[in-house]
């Protein structure tokens, strides 16, 4: 199993450009998440999904969009990139089971710089 994979690893965008960060998991997990990590800070939740076709906002959703058409994929779309979106983006997934312990597995991250 590859686990959670993210592409690209690095990207530089100009202000106003758009891009999609890709995330794929091969563990058949129901839950998927997008976090951002600003320099010297913890991870903050952008969006999450509890299954194909179902997404919801997290703590910092402004400037982003997501979709979940399959169990495996959970792309994050940045429209009109701004310098404030310079960050490291992590995708994660976990199995469903509210009362059970289900570890959240993280991808390797995408470092995005907006100039």
């Amino acid at each position: 199993n590859a686990g959670v994979t993210q592409t690209p690893k690095f990207r530089i965008l100009k202000i106003g450009q758009s891009m999609t960060l890709q995330c794929t998991q091969d563990m058949n997990h129901n839950y998927m998440y997008w976090y951002r990590q600003d320099p010297g800070m913890g991870l903050k939740l952008i969006y999450y999904s509890v299954g194909a076709g179902i997404t919801d906002k997290g703590e910092v959703p402004n400037g982003y969009n997501v979709s979940r058409s399959t169990t495996e994929d959970f792309p994050l779309r940045l429209e009109l990139a701004a310098p404030s979106q310079t960050s490291v983006y992590f995708c994660a997934s976990s199995q469903r089971g509210q009362g059970n312990y289900n570890e959240q597995f993280f991808g390797p991250g995408t470092r995005l710089t907006v100039l």
């Binding site: 839950y31 991870l43 939740l45 994660a92 976990s94 509210q98 993280f106 991250g109």
Partner: protein, 117 residues
Amino acid sequence: AQTVTQSQPEMSVQEAETVTLSCTYDTSESDYYLFWYKQPPSRQMILVIRQEAYKQQNATENRFSVNFQKAAKSFSLKISDSQLGDAAMYFCAYRSLRTGTASKLTFGTGTRLQVTL
């Protein structure tokens, strides 16, 4: 909403010594999980240890152990016999068990641990 606070931005420990990283959290819930994650320079998030709130016994994983004080809402991580490979950012995280929260994690701001010879 839950909050997680790590009041030590940086810590340093000598190799083979013991260090304790602090974490406090705020919640009105009685059932939840707490975690410590390690983030080395590679950026990969690595789960170090977890604690179920309903368990009174403190979790241990080899050289890593926690001191979980539920009433005080405190969750510290002790690293014994520190090794150079322990140098990393350490994040404390909270996960609610309330229905509908989708196992989301709330992270603290992290503590950077330096290990010196």
